[in-house]
Subunit: 158 residues, 5 copies
């Protein structure tokens, strides 16, 4: 299949408790005006790698952001690990840039703070993805080793 | 091999203590009337990824639902992790939609509740699979970030 | 290489403390009379996936049973996990049916019981493999969700 | 794509709190004068394997050094594991030499010591990479079994 | 590339605190007189799978022994797991026999005992590799299920 138009993907889940696709898509629209955005919603985090790969292989996306939400149970942690390995494999197999946003429900017991973390993380990583797609491998090099964080204040350099 | 007929797969195990294939197949029949359903039963969870991939490669299934049951021992948890990684790899290698239903025996000490969790989870994820096969990548987007759960009441959005 | 003759593989280890190949081969001979049985013995569990794949690729086996024994140390548990992931990958890469028998040395402190577990598990899973090879994907479906166990009494359905 | 010029890659992150690329690039420049150095900065450790593979596949790098920084949370440890598996897979898939530098934030509570560890480890592993690229498989054999460490004093042989 | 001469590989690390390549190479020389031995030394255990695969793909080795040493920290355990998965993947991808020797530094607090374990394990597994290369899949079958150990006294059959 030919893919004349440039495309970037957004994968989110019905499991997540915050709509992270909205800030991610806002950033991508703003920073990648020539790109079509394709969204794919799946049930949970273990469905993210396959969905990301389909967006690359079947829709021609040059980059994808995945938006995952991890529950509090031990099984959820294992699912997080499986998903992480899978996303890396998807990136190795496609050669495309896949940027992963994950919120762990136990990062905070305050729903409002959790919401703020999720939205900030999604927005900042969408920006990272857009910059790498636009400017290439050194797009983020001016921030290398600077202790940047997403969802939290930057830790800063030592 | 040609696969003129549309087909969807159901993989279950003899290890599971609830017949989850029944509700899954009921949903798939109802929502995917044009599809042939192919069932494959294997001994336990570690056999699910290989079986799912065979249903895609050898029988032409466009999507597969796997129905796993995880015991209480530490080794079972590792098996769950291996299975999860394997299912994701199968999805990456086939490009098909594989939806995973897993019940952990330690989710409840009440057999009746465990049974209810298993049946509800299988039915709801079969619905997820059918919707994605019928309506494409945005089939579930109206529920994205809404904290949906399978087997439990929805957690809801924050 | 052509493989006119039907063949099934048995992989065991020198690490194991019970000869599980004997009951496995007895069952396979009985249930798969047209098949040649090829045995491959390797040092330990991490060697099982590679050996199983060689039996498929180089000897043409249509299915393989692996017979692993896991020690009591933490490193052994990690080895179990690596082996499990590897066997699933081997199954994905070959498309053949690989059935895994694993005995964990800490399943019992009684040597006689451990021996009984190992022999029963090997025999029952050899039967599972033979049935799937002979009768196809639904060979085990009459037992699906029935809580079957190997090495222990069946847990039964809920 | 042809790659007439010899090239070596450096992948670092914005998450890291020390600029490890500087000492790594200094060493590579000194020891590999005929090589072009290509840098790629990504958000965090899970992005390292994909970036390393892109430097090999799309830029023709014959070797890559990755510079990762692992946080203190449990999720960070799982990310470290996923990244490690991914880097090994990238090395298997490319056939190129990928050398991994990882600093765990909990290696020290003293920022100055952590900084010293990071810089020393990056420099020494850049040297390892350069030597293997220049001198082949036995470049490091004179130090085999000698208990060398990076970031710490050598442990020495027993 | 053609590989007329038979070749076997030995991969060791500068991290290890015992020269395990010496006993391994002694055994291989003795038992595989027609084989050329190619050594490859890498920094640490996570470099072993890539190195083993290069010895197969680029040097034509029919089998490889890897000699790893695992530190006492939690991160070292995760590295062990990643390495184990990677070696199995390398074996699946090459179809060659890769035998893994690993010494965990916490197997003993006595340096002399640790040294003895390492040397014995390397020698015995080199023998296992040589036998499988020379005699094929059933080379070790006379010891199957006999509870053999490397580095320790045999556990024996139950």
């Amino acid at each position: 299949m030919r893919h004349a138009e440039k495309c970037v993907g957004v994968v989110d889940t019905t499991f997540a408790r915050v709509d992270m696709a909205r800030p991610a898509m806002e950033e991508l629209e703003k920073l990648l005006p020539g790109y079509r955005i394709i969204r794919h919603t799946v049930p949970g985090i273990k469905d993210l790698p396959g969905a990301a790969k389909r967006l690359v292989d079947q829709y021609g996306c040059r980059g994808v952001i995945t938006l995952g939400w991890v529950g509090r149970r031990e099984a959820d942690k294992y699912s997080y690990l499986a998903m992480s390995i899978g996303l890396i494999m998807a990136e190795l197999l496609t050669g495309s840039i896949l940027v992963d946003v994950t919120v762990h429900e136990d990062e905070s017991s305050d729903p409002e703070e959790l919401r703020r973390i999720a939205l900030d993380r999604a927005r900042k990583h969408a920006r990272n993805l857009a910059l790498m797609l636009k400017e290439g491998p050194t797009a983020l090099s001016r921030h290398a080793g600077r202790g940047l964080r997403q969802g939290y204040p930057d830790a800063g350099p030592l």
